[in-house]
Amino acid sequence: MLLNQFLFLAAVLFCIGVYGVLARRNAVLVLASIELMLNAVNINLVAFGAYRHNIAGQVFALFVITIAAAEVGVGLAIVVLIFRNRASIALDESDLMKG
């Protein structure tokens, strides 16, 4: 297997995530897109770990998974909070402050 198989896959996933983050209005879907990006990173880390025969790659990925979970939790909490206050989770409506 080529190392780049995995890296390219990760890159593509990452950028699909980027697209989602930029193009989606729905906050939950933006969070989902972020998960795509983090998974891409994990694929990278694991692939490098396997390539280098270094356990650190996997360990790093584990940390990322854990923290991603925490982030999603916090993110959803914030989304819920916003939803409660303005009955919408459209990101482009949050523009009270600018300039």
């Binding site: 198989q5 193009a23 939950v28 998974n39 694991v46 979970a69 909490a77």
Partner: protein, 163 residues
């Protein structure tokens, strides 16, 4: 080796397709379900790379926990189960451009760096090694993460709680 490459190819195609659906589908719940496919695919890739512990964690934490969280989130914010025409904003083209540009840069750099490098799998990564590492060199971050999770838990409750 060919088999592995074929498996990889199929998996990759499914993942990319699903990922694409995650960011384009008009249905929120479906998007989350497509996400499950991508996550599962990633897990499979880990197996392909003989990293079994992380595969397990991927399945349990992501598919088991995070996706459920997402679904909860979807429900709590009363997303329609059906099609929703209002999921995308008006900067799609800009988003696409940015993403394409970024992927272009990444791929170019990666192909320059690892053009023809092969991964040699010399055996399955043992979970014990992961543990040795986690509780050895990475003990301190591991402990700190516990605080982090606690903070996220407490904070998320405090934030999301109706008061």
């Amino acid at each position: 080796m060919v088999a592995q490459n074929v498996v990889f190819g199929i998996l990759a195609a499914v993942m990319i397709l699903s990922a694409w659906k995650v960011v384009t589908t008009k249905n929120v719940v479906r998007a989350v379900l497509y996400l499950v496919v991508v996550l599962a695919g990633a897990g499979a890739q880990y197996l392909l790379l003989a990293q079994e512990f992380i595969f397990v964690v991927q399945v349990i934490v992501y598919i088991g926990a995070i996706v459920v969280l997402f679904l909860f989130g979807t429900m709590l914010t009363r997303a329609p189960i059906g099609r929703d025409t209002d999921l995308d904003n008006d900067q799609k083209w800009l988003a696409a451009l940015t993403a394409l540009f970024l992927v272009g840069v990444m791929v170019a750099v990666l192909s320059d760096a690892f053009g023809n490098t092969h991964i040699k799998i010399s055996g399955v990564q043992r979970t014990a090694d992961v543990a040795n590492s986690m509780f050895g060199p990475y003990l301190i971050p591991f402990e700190v993460v516990s605080v982090l999770l606690l903070a996220a838990l407490v904070g998320a409750i405090a934030i999301a709680r109706r008061d």
